[in-house]
Amino acid sequence: MIMKNIKIFFLISATLLVLGGCDEDFVDINTNPYAVIDIDPALLFVGAQRTHLGGWETEHTIAQQFVNPHNSGATLGPNFNADIDNFNNGKWDGSYPGSIKNMVQAIALLDGNTERGNLLSILRIWKAQVFMGLVDTHADVPYFDAGQAYLKGSEYFYPKYDDDAAIYADLEKELKEAVAALNPNGDYVAADLFYGDRGSIKTGTAAAQVDKWKKLGNSLLLRLGMRYSKVDPTKAASIVSAAFNGGVMKSNDDNAYVKYDGTLFTNGANGGLVNNNPYFYYAAEPFVDQLKATNDPRTPFLVATFANPAAPLGDPNPNTNIADQFGVPVGVINTDLAKAPFRGAKGGGYNYSQMNVNVVASLTAPDFWVTYSEVSLLLAEAAQRGWIPGGEAAAKQYYEDGIRADIKRYALYPKATTVSDADIATFLASPGVAYNAADALKLINTQLWIVYIRNGTQAWANFRRSGFPALKPNLFNNLLNGGFVRRLSYPDYELAQNRENYLNAVKAIGGKDDLITRVFWDKE
């Protein structure tokens, strides 16, 4: 009996195993029943929508608004004119494997889909915005072949770098085509973090949303056109005019921004200023001096002196008197700040102003990508240059509208007090602010510099484009030939991982992957 059972047992096992070679279950077994393998491309878009805005420590330091005077190894950054991956790669790493990958995938998922034309246009506009920032930061970058390792396979593992001017030309085309393709009778992208159902500014219908994105797209086109002001003013004029005629942002209700609730999501860049070593971080002297010189009503929102710079969050009511603000001089090392002629130590840090971590640098501060203030100030310059109609009068109007809108924008920040219309009027009429044709470009772009706080990419790019404000070069160790950082070098790992394309790109941008090579639009 036992014998028989055993025989049966072996027979069955053997049969099962022979059959096992072509186990029908294998396909089921190798399918993860819990994995999401199909997705609404709109969700990928909104997952990628909060794109990299530029960091405090890199772009804002180069633009002399912010300083980390500590040179203790890992913090040797732009204040010391150092060419270090740690500070160069933020936008690169924040874009290619993040927003670009997901937007490229979303666009691919929409291939052949005629129902969702508006989503596709929105994706194209926003992707153009990301690449514009990458070109402005690094010059030539991978563009046409980027983000497609999965979609197109191993030939796209090591993308070639594309010429910066050629990328810009394609971005112009993309923006124009995408804006043109926006259809008020088409699909509504409810998920849109800017203008969707739960967006910062709710629209609710395709027509209303398309109107907003049309303005946003044209505003980006305006930004793109203005970049040509040094290298090709004629081209600049034509693009700016096209953008203006297409319709740009008209008020703060058009702003592209998101809010942070402070629980599930916080403002990440600002977290860097308070989570670790807050005493590393200060407002820069040129920025504070500008605010003080004009008695800028935005000053209390921007800078403050805290009881102990090592624990600014422990001081909910810091000193925000304009007269008491002092910025850390650029290119000075922390050990020197402790000694005369500098203001010396205070608490765990130094006796200088820091960014106001309760307002502009708060964990719940919103992030703005494109604002009406920026648009209005750019239009002021365009009008002043005669690229759009209206002449000096229009320029003055755009200029004042831009400043006014920016001051009003702070209503969205925590702990920001309201500035009365009368105070704004006083400010607009005060010396150093009041519009005059002779100083128009300086005035406009100095205001843009302030407007662009927390959008480091733009603050730095517009400074390079316009040359304003007239900052003094940081001469630390004389590493930049007496100039400014004009671009950030490529990530070191590209040299190893994408060597051939990297070396070709370095050749194409002039032979050196350094900080002083210029982006194509940044003509000397």
């Binding site: 036992i2 014998m3 055993i6 047992f9 072996f10 053997a14 195993l17 096992g20 070679g21 186990d23 279950d25 294998f26 077994i29 190798n30 993860n32 819990y34 999401v36 393998i37 969700l43 990928l44 909104v46 500590h70 203790s72 190894g73 890992a74 040797l76 270090i84 690169w92 790493d93 290619y96 494997p97 072949d145 980027a146 390792a149 191993s154 593992f157 993308p159 973090l193 969707g196 809010k259 942070y260 609730d261 402070g262 629980t263 308070v274 989570n275 670790n276 070593n277 102990n308 090592a310 624990a311 050990t335 402790a338 130590a345 765990g348 840090g349 160790n477 004389n478 040299l495 991982q497």
Partner: protein, 1048 residues
């Protein structure tokens, strides 16, 4: 579980009372069978005890034994025999000559016992005495330096940590499972090292070998090469370690064995930091408490003078050195292990049941490791032809607060080795908690340098509890006397539960989040795995005159299913209350995976005149994880052995000689994971302002065409016993090429993805292993055996993909918590190259500097060497005099490279002696002996040392922080005394069958090393990604151990 021991002790007492049989003196004489000459110094032992004697010059002997005991007579050059005693008191024994000692039986793959002479590949049977005499918490650690080609690397990671086990090198690139297959009673399991890998939890959670109690091990065989393990097919790439646990012996009666061992561990201090300068920056001491609180990490202050100076808590403390803080913080580690085993046997079967309890405390306060193991083995002949074998091993392990290591973040070692020496330990202890309940700021690296006293004060907790159940049931039916069939079912079930909290006040001065809730987190996770192997085997052997044939055919199905839950909460409503319910943000996830491998296999062996053997194996595996259109792989091997001493019988000096050769092609599907080929999306845990968002999951571009990688290994060997077995020599040479390795190819991240798995890599490991064992002295009372094993390993990366010359496996310098260097695979160079930048030099080799006298790095990274030691080995000496035996073991690893984060941080923060250059008497900074790049003139500018040394980190220059990882250690000294004879003389204790006491000391001394301030074995990780990278491990320990073994 501790409660269980009480009834067991009662039971033990009962057995003692029942055991009334008395020992009596047996006398006799041993003679040679062929000519009747008396045999001198024959070893005679009472089996299962340590009682023994040797025969006299006239062959006579006298020994105390009881009826039923088995006497074992062994003599070099003669066959060993066993005689079970009846009531006789006089015994005359004849031994037969056995010049070749061919009968050694080893357990090979699939648990098949085979005669050693037939094997065409290298195997090493582990001397299980070494496992119980030099006990380690993880059983495999005691084999370090004992088996040629078996490279054990124990990370310094606390009680119950994992081991790195590599046989004949690292067979595949990092990311693959490069540990040998562990087979316990026929149940194959992965080593499953849960070591620290730099990212994720910086705590080592042990490995699966810690499920085995050394006292339960009957035999352990190391199958070094692919051929030996070939029958395991896709799991054989790294060789195998075959463990059989005890299941009692037939005709034995009831026996009880009790083993108790106590170990104390003393942390070893190799630090030799500077004690001349105190806290501060720019050559100035702190001016106030607040100032001190942000510079605690820097020893760039003034020369120590004992003058009261502010420290981080505002108090004034003498400005003097406190060099031993870390070791004053650490404690003595302990390990108390008790095992009790019952065994018995009748004519038809046997059993053994054991229970073992380990209670260990690590050298970091609050670190505990607790383990209970129940092991049961049953052998039963159901009928004459049908046999049942049943083994069960249940382990319950608890790791409490395993130390945080391997990261420039949390952990006592990182903290105390990076804080200025002028801050006393008492201040860290007494001022750990600030007035608002957060961690008092102690340094400028808040969030990175975390005061461990704070974590202790607020009850930071990390606890992992694991249950593991390994069960094997085997039915074997002998169909005829030459043919059998066998079926086996293996069940492996594991359950792991982890609970941890992150106190909100660690590394911050603000107790609340932006939304007003309290900081902190609480995490629970549970993972469950089942791993079933069912197999059958039909086999037999027959002799045809001078020819013999053995053949087996079998099949296996391997089914694995894992699932896990994770739940975490944060943003607490009630401060410091760690519960899911208290969190206003809660996250949860569920992980699931399963796969199956079906296999058919067979082997056949042909023998000729007991002199020549050839063996073929073949195995076909079908994988569920592969593309269904092409999911099968065939693996094969051939090996042969030639016992040439059969042809040289006249030569007295040669007792045994064998040549062997083998070739195998095996593989590993490791690295092809379930669902690998499919792109998946992740929906974000939390909605953004109410809006659902999603993104592509993972940073790897999926590849649906992955194949298992393959390993081709060739091996030749020579085995000889000379001069009556006084000299034993075993040499192997092997050449192992791994191709189509699954490599996480580093993409340009502009492609959107950081990596993609590809079958690209190819790698060669080749080497020579030898073992020489000599018995220079053998007299009736004194024996000295000395053995030396050495493995020479040479590795070479053959390919990392078409057109690619090197691959950055991991850029340590960019991981965020590691600061320097890279691990690369470079075609044409040995595996595991440690890369960093170096000094920029001109054509004449002169070091170039900036006009300010600062360092300039080379644009490219350069190799500093391979992390893999070229030579590993050990020298073991066993001496025995009457009842006393002594073991002395030295081991070494030579030829590897390590880059030291500890050295880098100690330098740039002013702690190491190297950082004194530039601030010695008369110096005003570092005047580096280099030349200006601009003018070529020699440098004369002095640079502030803090800035100068920071440039090594900023520029990623490895020049002064890269060392040889070489060491020679006096690993172990053990002293064992057998008290059985003494007891025998005391009538009342006659029931004790055996009693021995062993004292051992592990890590006695480092005889040679290169790296300063550290034990070269103080490495962080048992994995392959941090090979060659040192970063804040625990200090290693010297262990003192005493073990008592008693048999009744």
């Amino acid at each position: 579980m501790m409660k269980l021991t009480k009834p067991m002790l009662l039971l033990l007492a009962l057995f003692c009372c029942l055991a009334t049989t008395k020992a009596q003196q047996i006398t006799g004489k041993v003679t040679a069978a062929n000519d009747g000459t008396p045999l001198i110094a024959v070893n005679i032992t009472v089996k299962e005890t340590n009682t023994g004697t040797v025969s006299d010059t006239d062959g006579t002997f006298q020994i105390a034994a009881t009826p039923g005991n088995t006497l074992v007579f062994s003599y070099i050059g003669f066959k060993t025999i066993e005689i079970t005693l009846g009531n006789e008191k006089n015994l005359n024994v004849t031994l037969e000559e056995d010049a070749q000692s061919l009968d050694e039986i080893v357990v090979t793959a699939l648990g098949i016992q085979r005669e050693s002479k037939k094997l065409g590949y290298s195997v090493t049977s582990v001397n299980t005495d070494e496992l119980v005499q030099n006990r380690t918490t993880n059983v495999i650690e005691s084999l370090e330096g004992r088996v040629a080609g078996l490279n054990i690397t124990p990370p310094a990671a606390g009680a119950g940590s994992s081991m790195q086990i590599r046989l004949r090198g690292q067979a595949a690139f990092a990311g693959a499972n490069n540990a040998p297959l562990i087979v316990i009673n026929g149940l194959p399991i992965d080593q499953g090292a849960r070591g620290v890998n730099g990212l994720g939890t910086p705590r080592d959670l042990g490995d699966n070998l810690s499920n085995i109690n050394p006292d339960d091990i009957e035999s352990m065989t190391v199958l070094k090469g692919a051929t030996a393990a070939a029958i395991y097919g896709a799991r054989a790439a790294n060789g195998a370690i075959i463990i059989t646990t005890k299941s009692g012996r037939k005709n034995q009666g009831i026996g009880v064995e009790y083993t108790s061992s106590y170990t104390s561990q003393e942390a070893l201090n190799f630090f030799d930091f500077q004690t001349e300068f105190g806290q501060g920056t720019g050559g100035k001491r702190p001016t106030s408490g607040a100032n001190a609180a942000t510079t605690g990490q820097f020893a760039w202050g003034e020369r120590l003078d004992g003058v009261p100076t502010p420290i981080f808590d505002g108090s004034l403390q003498p400005y003097s050195a406190n060099p031993n803080r870390l070791f004053d913080f650490l404690q003595t580690g302990t390990n108390f292990t008790n095992t009790i085993a019952f065994s018995g046997g009748t004519e038809k079967g046997s059993f053994r049941a054991s229970f073992s309890n380990t209670d260990a405390e690590g050298i970091t306060p609050t670190n505990e490791y607790k383990r209970n193991i129940i092991n049961l083995g049953i052998n039963q002949n159901i009928t004459q032809k049908l046999k049942l074998q049943f083994n069960l091993n249940y382990t319950n392990e608890r790791q409490i607060n395993p130390p945080q290591i391997g990261t420039q973040g949390p952990g006592a070692v990182n903290f105390f080795t990076r804080m200025a020496t002028s801050i006393p330990l008492s201040a860290f202890k007494n001022s750990a908690v600030a007035a608002n309940g957060t961690e008092t700021l102690t340094s400028g690296f808040q969030g990175t340098l975390l005061n461990p006293y704070y974590a202790i004060a607020v009850g930071q907790k990390y606890e992992n509890e694991r249950d593991r159940f390994l069960g094997t049931a085997t039915l074997r039916y002998d169909i005829t006397d030459w043919l059998y069939a066998q079926g086996r079912y293996n069940y492996d079930y594991s359950l792991s539960f982890t609970e941890s909290n992150d106190p909100g006040g660690i590394g911050t001065s603000v107790p609340t989040n932006a939304d007003g809730t309290f900081k902190g987190g609480y995490n629970l996770s549970e993972g469950k795995g089942t791993d079933v192997n069912a197999d059958f085997l039909i086999g037999g052997g027959k002799e045809f005159g001078i020819f013999s044939v053995d053949a087996n055919f079998g099949g296996n199905t391997w089914r694995v299913k894992n699932n896990s839950f994770n739940q975490s909460s944060s943003n607490f409503i009630v401060r410091d209350l760690y519960s899911i319910g208290n969190g206003s943000v809660r996250n949860q996830s569920y992980g699931f995976s399963q796969f199956r491998v079906n296999s058919l296999y067979g082997w056949a062996e042909f023998g000729f005149k007991s002199m020549l053997y050839v063996n073929f194996t073949g195995r076909n595996d079908w994988f569920s994880v592969l593309n269904p259109d092409d999911n099968s792989e065939f693996y094969q091997s051939v090996s042969g052995s030639f016992i040439f001493s059969e042809l040289m019988k006249g030569m007295d000096w040669l007792s045994y000689g064998k040549l062997r050769a083998s070739w195998a092609e095996v593989g590993s599907s490791n690295g092809v994971n379930p669902y690998d080929g499919i792109l998946t999306y992740g929906i974000a845990q939390n909605q953004f302002n109410g809006q659902t968002t999603a993104s592509i999951s993972g940073a790897s571009a999926p590849n649906q065409f992955l194949r298992p990688f393959s390993v081709e290994e060739k091996e030749i060997g020579l085995e000889m016993r000379l001069f009556g077995n006084r000299i034993l020599l075993d040499v192997s040479a092997f050449d192992k090429v791994t191709t189509d390795q699954i490599l996480d190819v580093q993409l340009s991240n502009t492609s959107g993805y950081n990596t993609s798995k590809r079958n690209l890599g190819s790698l060669k490991n080749s080497g020579v292993e030898f073992l020489v064992e000599v018995t220079p002295i053998q007299t009736p009372n004194f024996t000295w055996t000395s053995s030396w094993n050495n493995a020479f390993l040479s590795t070479e990366v053959l390919s990392v993909g078409e057109g690619i010359k090197d691959v950055i496996v991991l850029n340590w310098g960019a991981t965020g918590n590691e600061f320097i260097g890279q691990l690369r695979y470079v075609v044409g160079l040995p595996m595991n190259q440690v890369y960093a930048r170096t000094y920029l030099r001109d054509d004449q080799g002169r070091i170039l500097l900036t006009d300010q006298g600062r360092l300039i790095a080379s644009p490219d990274y350069v190799s500093y060497g391979s992390s893999i030691p070229k030579h590993t080995g050990g020298w073991t000496n066993s001496l025995s005099y009457k009842n006393l035996s002594v073991g002395i073991h030295l081991d070494y690893k030579l030829g590897g490279t390590v880059i030291s984060s500890t050295a880098l941080n100690a330098l740039r923060q002013g702690h190491s002696k190297a950082s004194l250059v530039g601030r010695r008497v008369g110096e005003t900074g570092v005047v580096f002996p280099g030349f200006y790049r601009s003018s070529g003139e020699p440098n004369t500018k002095a640079v502030d040392p803090a800035a100068f040394y920071a440039d090594y980190r900023n520029n990623q220059m490895g020049d002064i922080v890269t060392f040889k990882s070489d060491f020679v250690k006096l690993r172990n000294i053990s002293l064992s005394y057998n008290l059985t004879d003494l007891l025998r003389k005391t009538r009342a204790l006659g029931f004790v069958k055996g009693l021995s006491l062993t004292a051992a000391c592990r890590n006695v001394a480092i005889l040679y090393k290169d790296i300063p301030d550290l034990d070269p074995e103080a490495i962080q990780s048992s994995g392959d990604f941090r090979s060659g990278y040192e970063n804040t491990s625990l200090p290693t320990t010297r262990n003192y151990q005493i073990t008592l073994n008693a048999k009744f």
